[in-house]
Amino acid sequence: MNAAAEGSGRRAALRDGVLAAAGVPALVLITGYLGFGALAAGNGLSLPGTVLSTLLLWALPGQLILVEMHTLGAPFALVLLTVMFSAVRFLPMTVVLMPLLREARERPLHYYAAAQFLSMSGWAWTMTRFPDMAPERRLPYFLGFAGTLMLAATLATAAGFVGGDLLPKLAKLAMVFMSPMYFLLLMTGEARQLMARLSLLCGAVAGPLLHLVAPHASVLAGGLIGGTVAYGVHRAWRNRSARLGAR
């Protein structure tokens, strides 16, 4: 393929990514980020920091942890540690995505840039489509898709923050309430595997209980305790059914 045709092929892939994102995927994220913006405004935080968190963290769970823990007055290092723990999942996600992107042999810098755009929704979407896509189309498609999502989410964060501030008090509260509702539906809807359901249940019990004892450390400690119990129960149950099966 000559250089001009390759360039237009890349532009077409980028455009396809933008068009694929500008629909249900963007609407789902907008729903989450509108509520997040309103919640941050309701907690009395600043607009620039809140919008910046969407661009820099690009992970709504981490952003919610940051906003809630900071509002409770948790120490800087503990907030950072908790947010970082919630973000470890990006390591295996990137590891799984990279071989599919790398088939086209782009410059390494492009992959490090693409990693910042990776989110759970962009990952799930592209992972199912990449195997049927020509390798050289994948990176521009991914950047078009994920870039559109990030733009929509950034605008929604600002709109939720400003909108929440402008609305009358009761309407603002309703908008703030949309943020936990987004996670409630997203998590219960996505948790199809037993291990994920156990983690949800154990975390939902451990979080509020630990909040009564140690409010600043409750997200991290509740996650470690609830997640470890869920992992242990699932593992014991799996080993037991494996033994019964082998008998």
Binding site: V28, T31, G35, L39, N43, G44, L45, P48, G49, L52, S53, L56, L57, A59, P61, E68, H70, F76, L80, V83, F85, S86, A87, R89, F90, L91, T94, V95, P99, A115, L170, A171, A174, M175, F177, M178, P180, M181, Y182, L184, L185, M187, G189, M195, A196, S199, L200, G203, A206, G207, P208, H211, S218, G222, G223, G226, G227, A230, Y231, H234
Partner: protein, 112 residues
């Protein structure tokens, strides 16, 4: 107040860098580790439990703006969101979240 805002900005920068660390590390080591290992299964459980715990804490013991709402309002709002999401709209996230917000608004109006 301005000191608080500055700490929030610094914290956002630090958390952004801390999150990118995992992303960048994933690019660097992608050919050398197994993503389906038991360690990552455990990490996934902890991450899920963390956010579940935070959401359940916001529902039962909210801080910030939702402090002025009462527990029964939040639980009824959540019930409305779950009902619309699972029973009425065939898992339409937008409809479910909107229903939760609308129910909360109606319940707050009733009270005032």
């Amino acid at each position: 107040m301005s000191e608080l805002v500055n700490e929030y900005l610094l914290l956002t920068l630090a958390c952004g860098a801390g999150t990118y660390l995992w992303r960048g590390l994933g690019v660097a080591v992608s050919s050398r580790i197994r993503p389906e290992s038991e360690l990552f299964a455990w990490v996934g459980c902890v991450a899920f439990a963390m956010i579940a715990g935070l959401i359940s804490r916001i529902l039962f013991l909210p801080s910030g703006a939702l402090e002025v709402t009462s527990l029964w309002q939040r639980l009824l709002g959540a019930a409305a969101a779950l009902a619309v999401y699972y029973l009425i709209s065939r898992r339409n996230l937008f409809a479910g979240v909107l229903a939760g917000g609308a129910a909360m608004y109606a319940l707050l109006l009733l009270q005032h």
